[in-house]
């Protein structure tokens, strides 16, 4: 039914590729006690390289984290190794210093554009240099609008109205509309090809929990991409996460890789 499929594809949910992901996940299936020889849902992959398979040049990539906390640094490293280029990155920050994975990814020159709320920080030298020299495009979005645009993509809402940024430089050129005497801007969903997510616990279905402030953008990003890849500190048995305490249902997740990297670096620098 061509029309329907085309319509759905507008949001980037290409049927074939999703089925491919499921097939890929199934390949990872292996015998488990009591269900020997039976293939089942198992989204775990055994290496970061496997987790990155199929990411194409030109992809839009969401990355979780608020600074270092809940940031999937090892997956970003994997993306560098993978080599995809002409990328659009979407996340809150643009990294600081010269050694963290996000900054090294920017330095490869494979990122065309970054959509974020807070690119500038004390140490955001690489972003600064590349942006000033015209090598990296910036779309600056208020943090709440960024979050809502990502959430909207995952929720099948193509656009919504928000009061944020009305009358400011960041609202220029946007469609304005009045509701009940107040002015709002029209904002569009940010649908991505790939989401890179950092979780605390994951099971083989891809059900996730996040630790404290590590939650931040991760749950909404997990919903907004065609291919959601998770690095999890802990892999747990199916059923170990309480049904009422799962933060991201596995339905949103395509691949999970175990990355027990430990704690994020304590961060006392003042940035946002």
């Amino acid at each position: 039914m061509v029309v329907g499929k085309a319509a759905i594809r507008c949001f980037g949910v290409a049927e074939a590729s999703i089925s491919d992901s499921i097939a890929a996940a199934r390949v990872q299936g292996h015998p488990v006690q009591g269900r020997k020889q039976e293939i089942m849902i198992d989204k775990r992959v055994t290496s970061i390289a496997d987790a990155m398979k199929g990411i194409k040049d030109g992809s839009t990539v969401l990355f979780g984290g608020f600074g270092a906390v809940g940031h999937p640094g090892q997956l970003i490293d994997g993306l560098i190794e993978h080599g995809a280029k002409d990328l659009t990155l979407v996340g809150n920050n643009a990294g600081s210093g010269r050694v963290e994975p996000l900054v090294r990814l920017l330095a490869t020159g494979r990122v065309r554009k970054i959509i974020c709320s807070f690119p500038r920080s004390a140490g955001s030298v690489v972003f600064d240099e590349m942006h000033k020299s015209g090598k990296l495009e910036l779309e600056l979005v208020p943090q709440g609008t960024l979050a809502e645009r990502i959430r909207a993509a995952g929720a099948g809402v193509p656009a919504f109205y928000t009061p944020t940024a009305y009358g400011t430089a960041l609202g220029e050129g946007k469609e304005v509309r009045e509701f009940n005497g107040r002015m709002y801007l029209l904002e569009h969903a940010i649908r991505a090809d790939v989401a890179l997510v950092e979780a605390w616990q994951a099971d083989r279905w891809g059900n996730l929990t996040y630790k404290l402030s590590g939650r931040n953008f991760n749950p909404i990003m997990a919903t907004a991409a065609e291919l959601t890849i998770v690095q999890a500190q802990h892999i747990v048995e199916l059923g170990a996460l309480g049904p009422e305490h799962i933060h991201t249902p596995g339905v949103y997740v395509n691949r999970v890789v175990h990355v027990p990297y430990g704690d994020p670096a304590p961060a006392l620098v003042t940035t946002a």
Partner: protein, 227 residues
Amino acid sequence: MTTTASRATGAAEGFKPWTRPEMAARLAKDIPEGWCVNLGIGIPLLVSNFVKGREVIFHSENGIVGMGGLQKPEELEPWLVNAGKQNVNLVTGASIVHHADSFAMIRGGHIDLCVLGAFEVAENGDFANWTTSLTDGVPAVGGAMDLAVGAKRLWVIMDHTSKDGRPKLLERCALPLTALKAVSRVYTNFAVIDVGPQGFEVIDMAPGLSMEALEAQTGAKLKRKAA
């Protein structure tokens, strides 16, 4: 007169229509392991009986991801209900979300398949399943319209003809629509039919049924699906 009527027709034509469990089993066969599936109330719910041994995740729009079967009297947990407000179980790995998150999952294209019943399906994929009249009685819509536009694919399971023997697969729907161009496949007691770019394409027929006999019970052109 309902299924009996259809079957009588079948008998008259010299073939044996599929029973409801057979229809549900035929549909279930086409669900790959790993899909997340929402089943409507009625015949669609029967589908869950025929996926044993495969991990299929059933979604219920009131916020259950990983719904199990109906509760037995001895396992009563009154705080768990499905979309039909029957008491159900959770499977291992299930999670609970609130209503906005559940419909975000639906609308956002995260449900691989929705199976619904219908009054009418048109050859362009339009379908009608929520009310037979906008003026008589009180209409109710529930989550049907959201599921119809939101799930990655929508399959309809229904009797091939109405209770009084009229075709339910039509050139155009006459009843109030649930969604436009939404149905991709129809499972009836007579046949399995894809909704293709040029209209209905027959994939499978009940044993003994001829294409001519099927066309006689259908309100739109049929062609065989190319292999």
